[in-house]
Amino acid sequence: MIRKPVPVPLREGGEVEIDVRDVTIAFERDGGELVPAVDRVSFQVRRGEFICLLGPSGCGKSTLLNAVAGFETPYEGEVVVGTKVVTGPGPDRGVVFQQPRLFPWKSVRANVAHGPRMAGKSRADAGAIADELIEMVGLSRSAKALPHTLSGGMQQRVAIARALANRPNILLMDEPFGALDAQTRTVMQEGLLRLWAQLDTTILFVTHDIDEAVLLADRVLVMSAGPGRIVRDLAVDLPRPRTIETTLGARFQALRRECLDLIRQQSQKAFEGTHDA
């Protein structure tokens, strides 16, 4: 059960912004038995890096993200952001959750404007920021609507806009584009990459779409099934800016193939794992 974490190669330049040190997170099962969801995971993210977390369903991606966000306290190990150990959530780390989690009593505009308002911005300034982001996610027409009147994909787009509104140093995104159609997704991906290039944001991005991971990331961290561990830290050496055309190149396809194989192995394990239960 206890294995040494795979050594993480540090790339040149930039300070370490997120340092996940030997983190184990466990949950209690019915019987009181402690089952680890994330097992001794260590990795580092440098300032301005774009990291994708890839792994089979239920491997602990969301749990790990929650630990960085400050919502779960590691059972063992610790997460250091900048120079401080994470003890709770903060506006320096914007989060797009796997569920939209919009405030049901606020309009789309008010949801997006919430962060800037809390940061002390005036109603007008916060509104302007919100409008800009809402336009970016293509929902200007629904700015005044309440969340429950939106479709699943629209809600998720609002959640993305909301997380961006604070211009956080770090963006933690949990399958943000999972509910979007191919084209909307491409638009959103390009929008995110533009924003990331403009601002000096560090991004930790959970996805189950291999193309997306390879297209967006500087490094793809592939997680194993069962108690999640990082089995591979794959540097994506494709030149930027990348566009949808990038996906046609041979290097892209090679990287994609590599990820796919890794994932397939892990998923296979996950499925086989169910039979010895």
Partner: protein
Amino acid sequence: MADISTPAALSPRGAGALPAVGAKRRRSARLSQRINMAVGLVSIPLFLMVWQLIAQARIVNPILFPAPTEVARAAMEWVTSGLFVEDAVASLKRVATGYFVGSVVGVGCGLLTGRSAFFSGLLGPLFQVLRPIPPIAFVSIVILWFGLSEGGKVFLIVWGVFFTVWLSTHLGVQKVDQGLVRAAQMLGTPRRRLVGEVVLLSALPFIVVGLRTAVGISFYTLVAAELAGAFAGIFYRIQLAQQNMQTGLVFAGLAALGLISFIADRCFAMMAQRLVWWR
């Protein structure tokens, strides 16, 4: 109070050229809606009719159990004597003040104990012990502390309202959607604003239950309040009428109470619907 299986999508307004089947279904839906509304209107008259029949059958002593007509007569007399307005105003003032103070303090304490384990530990057991003590049992003590002022009477009402609202707020706060709290936290909502921005709104459906229950409770405690040296008030009048065997007036008093609370509750329900606009 709508049937919960009503779909969110709308029936058409105005009569376009609608396909036959859809229109038929919609017509029948509208019809059943009308029936339900009509039922709501006849509910109380129906009850009165049954009452009248029982009373007229004279199974029970009509002096102890008067017919609605007799009650109406007594009520008319009460109103024309001018005493009704006086009594109603006196009672309403007490209830309104007590209710307001009790619910504001109740929501406040509920947020405090619901959010903080420290305050929950400190105040929870105390509140739980005091909660069941009926105001009527300590009228004497209230008189001792407050004298015969209106303050004492209002305190008795506050007592009943407070514990009801406190409990439901406390429980509501503990049921707050943690996902929304997390979303607010990551957006940098400071701890003290978390309450106003998320906790309060998220617990609102529970608080509304407490507030509406407390409308009834406030009238329960009004009895105790008006036992304590009142000069006017609906219960004061009911009590006198009871002593004098004016059962018509007793029932008229109870009916007045029911009516006032009914109106209060209707207003409340309407307000609650606006308050909890997001469903």
